[in-house]
């Protein structure tokens, strides 16, 4: 069993190539490998400051409910429990992580106030001398709920009369500059459907996908002698976390220091600012180091997954395979809060109608609130599921036309200089060459006319 380093294929775009690479094309040891194989790489949980306290969360047992009361009596009586934080202890309890780039409104509490909007939402944080005591304390918090109707489906959430999930948005969708969704309007799709030889419409759907990092989300916060907090975290976004945490704590950014960058698997699941703020508050209130780390169940159940999506694609297609119109209606399930999903939905819109030159495009991409676990980033979020839908659509169109699916793609592939639906001129596309190379590598025969196509010319079109 051996593997081979794939040689770089330098034949396409030979004239544009510069060959002064020092790393690409050669074998270079990973700079972190020695630390990994000796066990000396320091992950956040490898720090063990003296006097460490452990934080465990009491979480919502309901999908959607009003909180009538929280009783901490039994929890506080557990030996070893030091303190229990509620929303009243968090200086700026309401936030949204993308506020750093101007996204509004703040829509998510660090700890629930009067309502829970998804199963597993944090309500209060139990800080104790040992992990076992913190777990015991968290289990003994009593919450009195008044159940509210819940909604779990994006289209049901947008229907008339659906229960309102998130009052801060006022509607069950994120509003983009006054619009109910992210839109693309290019040409006239309805006219294209009238002119087309065929109209194909299909529906695609995905479930939420958990990133499932082997190292769970967590942090250790250590108060420093100079009054600052040192945060050891496995966040994938150190400065993003630092800035958001400072805003939530209401302290200047320079009062926090993040030690991070060593992540035991993230895959997008560790860009939310979810454990650090409450651990920092606990460390400030107790003046002791505090660890807050998800257990495996929390990682799977409450850490934000890749969003579920539902996508309708309707294509206007000519007999020769040219797609002259594409209408996309896309719903992204944000769960109960926005987090990174308004951005993911924008990415989804930006990705439509795929890497194809289609003269008439219409897209509505909705960021929808439901009572499901808030979704967020994961490897190409907003794009991956869209690609699944787009490429499935291409295969189905090809099949319906009895056409080679690669030829259908080559015929419609964007070329350098094409105006995309977003009014950007495409450059450096290379899709034609990639499809040709892939066909060659798998022994898929293409006719001469298709082998001669290029992303830099309009030959063969």
């Amino acid at each position: 069993m051996t593997y081979r380093l794939a040689p770089i294929d330098k034949s396409p775009f030979a004239a544009e190539r510069e060959d002064d690479f020092t790393v690409i094309g050669s074998v270079v040891q990973r700079s972190d490998a020695r630390g990994h194989v000796t066990g000396r790489t320091e992950f956040f949980e490898d720090v063990a400051p003296p006097g460490l306290l452990h934080l465990k969360m009491h979480r919502s047992a309901r999908h959607h409910a009003r909180i009538r009361g929280v009783d901490l009596t039994e929890a506080l009586a557990v030996p070893g429990v030091v303190r229990i934080l509620t929303h009243a202890d968090i200086p700026n309890n309401l936030y949204t992580p993308l506020k750093l780039i101007g996204v509004e409104p703040d829509d998510e509490p660090i700890l629930a106030v009067d309502k829970v909007r998804y199963l597993g939402e944090p309500i209060c944080a139990v800080v104790a001398e040992s992990e076992a005591a913190a777990l015991e304390g968290a289990a003994r918090v009593r919450v009195d709920y008044e159940d509210l109707p819940a909604v779990f489906d994006v289209e049901e959430a947008l229907a008339e009369g659906a229960p309102l999930v998130n009052e801060y948005h006022g509607r069950n969708f994120f509003t983009y500059e006054g619009h109910h969704c992210r839109r693309i309007r290019f040409g006239d799709v309805e006219k294209a459907f009238g002119q087309a030889d065929h109209v194909f419409e299909w529906r695609y759907e995905s479930a939420p996908i958990e990133q499932a990092p082997t190292e769970t989300t967590g942090c250790v916060v250590i108060p420093q002698a100079d009054g600052r907090l040192r945060i050891h975290s496995d966040t994938q976004a150190c400065f993003f976390t630092l800035d958001n945490t400072a805003l939530i704590l209401g302290v200047p950014f320079n009062k926090l220091r993040i030690v991070g960058g060593t992540v035991g698997g993230g895959f997008g699941g560790k860009v939310d600012v979810i454990v650090e703020p409450v651990a920092c508050v606990a460390a400030m209130m107790t003046d002791r180091p505090v660890k807050f780390v998800y257990n495996r169940y929390e990682e799977m159940q409450v850490s934000s997954p890749r969003a579920a999506e539902r996508i309708y694609i309707k294509d206007a297609v000519m007999n020769d395979g040219r797609i002259i119109g594409r209408k996309v209606t896309l719903y992204v399930d944000s769960g109960a809060y926005a987090r990174h999903t308004p951005y993911g939905t924008t990415k989804a819109a930006a990705h439509m109608p795929g890497p194809y030159s289609i003269p008439n495009v219409w897209a509505d991409c909705h960021c929808v609130f439901t009572n499901r676990t808030p979704s967020s980033a994961m490897r190409g979020f907003g794009v991956t599921i869209g690609d699944f839908a787009l490429e499935s659509q291409m295969d189905r169109v090809a099949r319906a036309l009895s056409m080679d699916p690669l030829q259908l793609r080559l015929l419609n592939a964007y070329r350098d200089g094409d105006l995309k639906a977003h009014r950007k001129v495409a450059e450096g596309t290379a899709l034609v060459e990639v499809v040709q190379k892939a066909a060659e590598m798998v022994g898929h025969e293409l006719p001469e006319a298709y082998r001669r196509m290029s992303s830099t010319t309009r030959e063969g079109l």
Binding site: K56, L135, E136, A138, A139, N295
Partner: protein
């Protein structure tokens, strides 16, 4: 929270702690995840690790396997080689170094493939408890459990005659995956037809079950693919499949005949 971990050095001493409400722990593969997540319902653990219950003896065609024997020691025992393929379908080698024979009787389906084997083998459980010792067929232990304060000290089984042991487990992956359907059987044939058979199934009911309908159907008939498929279809009457992350109840029922056939015919 756990208040005490006891390490009794004899079955008698285990019985004392068990009678006081201690939680019997073999390898810890079931108990410790609950301890670690704060979900343990009892405060005292009673480890069997030093209780002298891990021995394996094979004499005169009968094996007596201590309840605290790790699955790996059964796997490695030269005279229990017929069980080796079955054991290698259970979890991973690292888990098999901890998980015990006794513990396997009490894990939830779709785990517990050794229990399925022991049911097919018509093994007997030696049980100790406040009321003394008793021997109980494994079928009874699997169906109705044991009394509060009791614990299994060993399982005893006759070794199957050469050529009479069959085992097959359908999994989502080749290694370390729970059962979709497990089939274990001791089946004797003469002149090309089945003279006696005992078939146990895992993965298709809340507990390991006997496929009595399939057993009835196979008697005096050849182990041909057609007859086996018929028997597998009949076996659905003996099951109560469930949905889980590995497979749906529908799927388990659908593929049961295929895997029952494969257990005997190999394909």
């Amino acid at each position: 929270m756990i208040q005490a971990v006891h390490l009794p050095e004899s079955a008698e001493a285990v019985a004392v702690h068990s009678a006081r409400g201690g939680w019997i722990m073999g390898g810890g593969t079931v108990v410790m995840p609950l301890v670690n997540s704060g979900a343990a319902t009892r405060s005292e653990l009673v480890s069997l690790r030093r209780a002298g219950l891990a021995g394996i003896e094979v004499r005169d065609g009968v094996a007596r396997i201590g309840a605290a024997a790790p699955l790996s020691s059964v796997e490695e025992h030269p005279e229990l080689a017929f069980l080796r393929p079955a054991l290698r379908t259970i979890a991973s080698p690292t888990i098999r170094n901890l998980a015990t024979v006794g513990g396997n009787l009490f894990v939830e389906q779709p785990y517990g493939d050794l229990a399925v084997c022991l049911l097919a083998l018509d093994a007997t459980c030696e049980i100790a408890g406040p009321a003394g010792r008793r021997d109980v067929p494994v079928a009874e232990v699997l169906a109705s459990g044991i009394a509060e304060g009791e614990f299994v000290t060993a399982v005893v089984t006759a070794l199957p005659e050469p050529g009479t042991w069959y085992y097959h487990k359908a999994m989502r992956r080749k290694l370390n995956s729970a059962s979709i359907v497990t089939v274990a059987s001791v089946t004797r044939t003469a002149d090309g037809v089945v003279t006696s058979t005992r078939i146990a199934l895992g993965g298709v009911a809340p507990r390991p079950v006997r496929a009595v309908s399939a057993e009835r159907l196979l008697r005096d008939r050849p182990l041909s693919p057609e007859v086996l498929t018929e028997a597998g279809e009949a076996a659905r009457a003996d099951t109560a499949p469930f949905d889980d992350a590995y497979a749906s109840a529908w799927y388990r029922a659908r593929v049961l005949p295929v895997h029952l056939r494969r257990a005997f015919a190999g394909r």
